[in-house]
Amino acid sequence: MSEVLVVFDDVVKRFGEFAAVKRMSLEIRRGEFLALMGPSGCGKTTTLRMLAGLELPSEGDITLEGQSLLSVRPHERDTPMVWQSLALFPFLDVRENVEFGLKMRGVAADERRRRAEDWLDRLGIAEFARRNVEQLSGGQRQRVALARALVTEPQILLLDEPLSALDAHLVIRMQGVLTRLQRELGITFVYVTHSQSEAFAMADRVVIMSDGEISQIGAPRDIYRTPANRFVAEFVGRNNILSGKVKRLEQNDAVVATPAGALKVSVGEDNSISEGDEISFVIAADLVRLSQEPPAEGNAVPVSLISEEFIGSVVTLFLESDDGTEFRAQLQERELADIDLKAAKELYLSWPPASGHILVDRI
């Protein structure tokens, strides 16, 4: 049994003139929690629907365990979906909703009932079995939708922004439920969302999409630390992005003339950067230091404070350098204990060249 379960091979999807998905290739691994993430209109939902068979690719192929899915109708596939609107059947009670998939597969009534009740119990909603779905709360209905999709023990579960209609505290709880379930069952989850925090909290790998194409694929941490391009960097974090021309190269560093001053960023083994190139680089907000004196070495930019955002132990500071460039710093509250931000006459933002990560902008 290979590690790869689903392959998208050069898939294109057009609606009339408009290309929702442009030449996308992707591998989905067995047993992973994969998130498809991006802004509205990036093609993530279209991709999910193609996997479910609700849309057919205009070009390219989608294979499951090596077999092409193109001629497989939606009801012949084993790709149950948890819908954004939940799509629970209002004329059936909770248990009948959950049994639906089993009924379609011809499972006998007693067996269906047992398995449905088993799942309802597992998700903590057994007491609602005979109730009408309309009588349940948002979170409870969410669980019904989950049970309905999982009761047939599929290989893949598709989820289309399932948490978008829930209250904030329920979202956190459901994230825990989903992650736990996925680990226990070991099945592949393909999860579509526009929320970075959801994707990063739950997924093993995240696929960031923009304008019908994949911008980056990787583990959440890797994407955060080393965003592939400007779009990802901006989409994914509260980061500082600076651009400028390379003035010169010093050993492993490039000195870049940015509006905020001449700053060093390490290029490492990369030989493609030369003097005169225009480059952008990103410094994660949590990698900068704030002090009242310029540091001994590394980059330093004089800044003044614009505002603070205080969320418990982490403080986000919004700062501005003399030339007007905005910076963000994310610091632990105790690190600021020594600095009186309001009274300080001089503030310096500093970071070592290695903390900067060069971005490759897609043409």
């Binding site: 479910a52 009801h75 819908w83 059947f89 639906f100």
Partner: protein, 267 residues
């Protein structure tokens, strides 16, 4: 402000008068059906069941009732079936000339009945179907299917767009999805459509009169009686027709509400 209250009072009286006008002939008909006088006037005559006795003993009336029942039940089934197909097509599919398609489906109510009656009489004679019961059924179906379509379409509008795909996604083929999801969801509207089209057909006289020949429906009998002379039997018949129609509507409403309060549990 007193002028505001005066206006409100005036409008309420106006409403009452209007309803009086609308219901006067109906109430009068019911009252006269129990009135002994042949030419009702004030003061009324004595209470009498003679008109009811007359119609219950008239074999023509019973024939007409039988014909009307056959016609209205058949019309209801056919018109609701066609209306459902059209409503579902409108809901689910987009295609070229869809505007023309819908116009074709919804045009009949805009054509005066008398013209439709003439056209159908001529057409059915041409194809040798005049005077048959099923020619009335066909004509009534043309008239009623737009209403069935509208009622069902309104209900389908309320259906979550993902409900059918959810069924397919869980293993139901399109046909099974139709039976397991769309039909159960639309059931209240289907029942309403059946009752409404039955009622409309039961009461339709112009087309039936032209097209029916010797197979008369109840309204045609009424028409013939009324054409002849003043005959209070008509009131008795009218009251029966009214009670039948209202009963159908009430049954439909009860069925729909019972389903909703039970939480829509499938049998």
């Amino acid at each position: 402000m007193t002028s505001d209250r005066a206006v409100r009072w005036f409008l309420r009286c106006y409403l009452a008068l209007l309803f009086l006008f609308v219901f006067a002939p109906i109430l009068a008909s019911v009252v006269f059906s129990f009135n002994s006088q042949r030419f009702p006037t004030i003061p009324l005559g004595s209470f009498s069941l003679q008109w009811y006795e007359a119609i219950l003993e008239d074999p023509d009336v019973w024939d007409a009732v039988r014909t009307s029942i056959i016609v209205s039940i058949s019309t209801a089934c056919l018109a609701t079936f066609i209306g459902f197909c059209t409503a579902y097509t409108d809901y689910r599919y987009g295609f070229r000339f869809k505007g023309a398609y819908l116009a074709l489906a919804l045009l009949p109510p805009t054509i005066p009945l008398i013209i439709l009656a003439l056209a159908m009489l001529a057409w059915f004679s041409r194809i040798g179907a005049s005077g048959q019961v099923w020619s009335i059924i066909i004509a009534h179906t043309v008239l009623c299917s737009p209403f069935a379509m509208a009622i069902i379409r309104l209900r389908l509008q309320q259906m979550d767009r993902n409900l059918e795909p959810a069924a397919w996604n869980l293993g139901a083929s399109e046909w099974r999805g139709m039976g397991q999801v769309v039909l159960p969801f639309a059931r209240p509207a289907i029942i309403s459509a059946l009752c409404l089209t039955a009622a409309v057909s039961f009461d339709e006289f112009a087309v039936a009169w032209f097209v029916s020949g010797l197979n008369k429906t109840v309204p045609v009998i009424i028409l013939e009686i009324v054409t002849g002379n003043i005959d209070p039997q008509v009131n008795a018949i009218g009251t029966f027709v009214f009670i039948t129609s209202i009963t159908l509507v009430v049954i439909a409403q009860i069925l729909i509400m019972a389903r909703e309060s039970k939480g829509g549990t499938a049998p």
